[in-house]
């Protein structure tokens, strides 16, 4: 008997190893999503949209129909698919630049219209694909290529709190959470509950994922964890921010959290 890697069923083996850098959190976020798709048995109904930025490298990641769109425009593309065919389960996958900067208007309006789609947003505190520029999520004092002397909140504001914003502008039917790639089981539960919110036709669902970028952070493995598990949570609190009453409490999730 040959031993196979423990990859989700819905992953496309022919495109593995995937294209993300060593230590990149996208692999873990997409593992959580893959596990959630497997768990819900919806591989035949999921449409996966990915954005510009490193998320685009996921265009052939899954054995599901996928479309790679423009920077920030995945939310309206996926909205278009969902409105035209509500049977499909539509996922928009993007980064913090795509969701909170160039695509912010789409995120705000899709959430406001309570689109029955699931937006998953990887937050690694900067624009990674273009070489590490400041993003809305960059931490105060953090050095990037366009904040070479460290982000100064006086000049460029504070890190964007996406889930808090989405929670504030959505109705009671929305599911909003922030997970982290350092807690895969919890993240998987959030993705399951987000997708369930869509499947059950309740409303908009949004999961921000705190993720890693050793390449642009220029961190070794130890410092990568340090940044993800210590520095980022000081600004971004993880957990469920909004759960529709009909979804109930996440008893499984409590057990799953490390």
């Amino acid at each position: 008997m040959t031993v196979k890697p423990a990859m989700p069923e819905s992953w496309r083996l022919e495109t593995k190893p995937h294209k993300f850098c060593p230590g990149c959190g996208h692999g873990i976020a997409l593992r959580a999503l893959g596990q959630a798709i497997d768990e819900l048995g919806i591989q035949d109904r999921v449409v996966f949209g990915c954005d510009i930025g490193c998320s685009l490298l996921a265009w052939d990641f899954f054995n599901v129909d996928s479309v790679q769109t423009h920077h920030g425009r995945t939310t309206p593309v996926v909205t278009g698919i969902k409105r035209a065919n509500p049977e499909l389960i539509c996922v928009a996958y993007m980064g913090d630049g795509g969701g909170y900067a160039i695509g912010a208007q789409h995120l705000v309006n899709a959430a406001g219209r309570n689109e029955r789609i699931t937006v998953i947003l990887a937050n690694n505190t900067q624009y990674a694909m273009t070489g590490g520029q400041m993003a809305p999520t960059t931490l105060p004092g953090q050095k990037t290529e366009t904040s070479p002397y460290g982000r100064d909140p006086e000049a460029t504001g504070h890190p964007a709190k996406g889930p808090e914003m989405v929670a504030a502008i959505t109705g009671e039917d929305a599911y909003v959470a922030r997970g982290t790639v350092s807690k895969l089981p919890q993240l998987r539960r959030m993705m399951v509950r987000a997708l369930q919110n869509q499947i059950e036709g309740r409303g908009f669902s949004f999961v921000e994922v705190l993720s890693t970028c050793p390449t642009n952070w220029r961190t070794n493995a130890k410092d990568t964890w340090e940044f993800l598990e210590k520095k980022m949570p000081a600004h971004f609190r993880t957990g469920e921010l909004k759960v529709p009453a009909a979804a109930g409490k996440d008893e499984d999730g409590k057990k799953a959290v490390h």
Binding site: T2, V3, K4, P5, A6, M7, W11, L13, E14, K16, P17, H18, F20, C21, P22, G23, C24, G25, H26, G27, I28, R31, V181, S182, L184, P185, T212, P214, N220, A221, K222, T224, W225, H258
Partner: protein, 85 residues
């Protein structure tokens, strides 16, 4: 299906499998291990950098955090159930 060559280490309380064909050498697993029982291997991963392997079977408690931390699904840890041979 493309297979990935597993390198299997039978440890006292379970099995540790690494797929060098998936390992990019990021070291996240190594740092995540609460028992510090992983190290770099002589064997090279997909990008020509060292893959990882367990150093000492005695210290591993089969928690699987290394496998959860791997962005590339390159690690599998299984704990023997009581009564397994």
């Amino acid at each position: 299906m493309e297979g990935f060559e597993p390198v299997t280490r039978e440890l006292p309380g379970g099995t540790f499998v690494v797929f060098p064909g998936l390992c990019k050498g990021c070291g996240l697993c190594l740092e995540k291990c609460p028992k510090r029982c992983l190290d770099w291997s002589e064997r090279l991963g997909i990008y020509g950098t060292p893959a990882i392997e367990p150093v000492d079977g005695e210290t591993c408690n089969y928690c699987g955090l290394c496998a959860l931390a791997c962005p590339d699904c390159a690690i599998m840890v299984t704990k023997k159930k009581r009564g397994d041979a």
